[in-house]
């Protein structure tokens, strides 16, 4: 009779030691804890300094990656409340248009329009999504999918906000360093802020709404109020991405609502691993450089994202980040069965 084996996973000793205060007693443990956090942060902060080494083109890719990573973060926060969004372009587009409008119409400088666009954009998105927040899952997903399409149609029809041509010749950002460090810092703040938030009691309520909203309701918690707050928070991050990119491109137009801004964050989040915030960020940093390399394929790239999405959902449902995390914390061995 053939012997069967199964895989057994055990936590590494160092992980067990690192779970309490004794971690501070040795450099190895401290490094084990700090390295996965410090290394990416340091890399993100140093990368913009390397303009001369990697070339301006790839620095631009870094900025775009940060923008998409921010959208992916906001997607992940919504997903933690059980709201699956297929239309992150809504947040991006509203933030972008509001910022562009303030700059174009009143000539306000970027340091005023970007914060206003961020907060105002998040507010507008929350108000827009307010009536559909009572929906869950599939229903919410389809409504969010339609919002960017409808807003595009709306702008096209009413010819407001520059109509099909958009608004161009907006003010540039003051200098290159702000251009580079603003998205990086925003990404870091968003990433660690959300990670902290979801581990607080507040985050527990949000996750509770995702897992069993009735149980949360029976705890005398108004789930809609929490959902509104979550949408606003997610909207802040998403709208900032749009607001920043408006001034970065010095243009805002109907492409701000394009499908790319919906499907890229989604793919990044699913590829990286849903629910960790670090996962979607990692996903964006894998996906966007890859898609830049595939720029020659034009619209076929969207097909390519779709293929990645399907493959990830079916065969790697946990995502890259969870996989790496597991390898980092645990070792595996084969054990004889029977």
């Amino acid at each position: 009779m053939a012997t069967h084996y199964r895989k057994e996973r055990l936590d590494r000793g160092i992980k067990a030691r690192c779970e309490d205060i004794f971690a501070l007693s040795s450099y190895r443990e401290i490094l084990y804890l700090l390295l996965p956090r410090v290394l990416p942060v340091a890399a993100l902060l140093i990368l913009p300094l390397l303009t001369g080494v990697v070339g301006l083109y790839w620095i631009k890719v870094l900025v775009i990656t940060c923008a998409i990573a921010l959208l992916a973060l906001s997607w992940d926060l919504l997903a933690s409340v059980g709201l699956i969004s297929l239309g992150q372009a809504l947040f991006f587009g509203v933030g972008a248009y509001l910022t562009g409008f303030l700059n174009h119409r009143f000539g306000w400088p970027p340091f005023l329009t970007i914060p206003l666009g961020t907060i105002g954009g998040a507010f507008i998105c929350t108000v827009l999504l307010l009536p559909v927040l009572r929906l869950r899952g599939v229903y919410f997903a389809i409504v969010t999918l339609t919002f960017p399409l409808l807003l595009t149609r709306f702008i096209e029809t009413t010819k407001i906000l520059g109509g099909t041509e958009g608004m161009s010749a907006l003010s540039p950002l003051p200098n290159m360093w702000i251009e580079l460090y603003l998205p990086v810092l925003a990404l870091l703040i968003g990433l660690f802020g959300f990670r902290r938030l979801i581990n607080e009691d507040y985050g527990l309520v949000l996750q509770g709404i995702r897992d069993n909203d009735r149980a949360v309701m029976s705890g005398a918690i108004n789930i809609y109020w929490f959902k509104i707050q979550a949408v606003f928070l997610a909207g802040l991050v998403g709208a900032f991405s749009g607001a920043f990119m408006t001034h970065y491109y010095r243009f805002v137009g109907m492409p701000a609502f394009s499908l790319d801004y919906s499907i890229l964050p989604l793919t990044a989040a699913v590829l990286g691993g849903v629910g960790t915030f670090a996962g979607p960020t990692l996903g964006a940093f894998i996906l966007i450089p890859l898609s830049e390399a595939l720029r020659a394929f034009g619209t076929l790239r969207v097909v390519f994202y779709s293929a990645i999405l399907i493959i990830c959902i079916v065969s790697l449902p946990e995502g890259v980040f969870h996989y790496i995390q597991r390898k980092y914390h645990q070792f595996e061995k084969m054990v004889k069965v029977g």
Binding site: I142, V143, I263, V302
Partner: protein
Amino acid sequence: MINSIIIYGLVNSVMLALIAMGFSLTFGISGVANFAYGGFYILSGFLTWMLLHYFKLPFLLAIPITIGIVGLLGFVTYWVILYRVRGIALSEVIATFALGVGMLELFRWLGFVTYDFTLPYLKKGMVVIAGVPLDYQRLFIIGIGLALVLFLYFFTHYTRIGLAFRGIAQNERTAISLGIRSDYTAALSLAFGSAMASVAAIVILPLGIISINLGYEVLLIAVAVGIVGGLESVPGILVASLILGYAQVITGIYLAVEWMTVVYLAAIVIILSIKPSGLFGKFKELEERV
């Protein structure tokens, strides 16, 4: 004026019902929201076009081939993709959405974006009904829509597969204990839903050009009608199609054609605030809407 509103409103309503029925059939039976629906719809259009132009098949032969292929594709989709993620709403939605977008954007990349892509009418010519000119194609749409509703009714009430569909829809566990295979039935429901998308495509698309953006709109229609009527109820779908269809035609005549798409969103928002489970929905509480 009033005559033309009545007649074209009816045509429009039947079109909406045709589009929504496949989506709601799949959802009602297997609980899978087939977000690739728009993709299947457009795929059917282009498939028929290719059969007509590359293989020079007669139209009447191309129709059953297309419906067969798209139905089969729906069946395969279930086993290849959905079978593995069944029951995880998030994964189902993302996987089918990605499939739909992938299909649509593939066609865009292949260059299916010009005005050459039209399907022929089943029969050219028109009749005048109550002073309103109406072409045969629109008459066919009404006829086929009614035929499909009748077919579905008899199919789900008098055939083994149809009864299995209803069994699974009513109570999956009991159905399984009576020997109805859940996954096989769900795959069949996806096949039927996709085939109905292609029926809708073949009768509706000849009215205009086959445009890829229609794929997204079809999805919007299917869901708007579903939300207004209650996704799992056939009478709900029909009533919702009538309401939306007439509302659209009236909007188109008195406001502007561009505002017609806004009707869907307005309808969704209004119905959610008045009667969240839809006009004929069975769920009393909204929290049950997954």
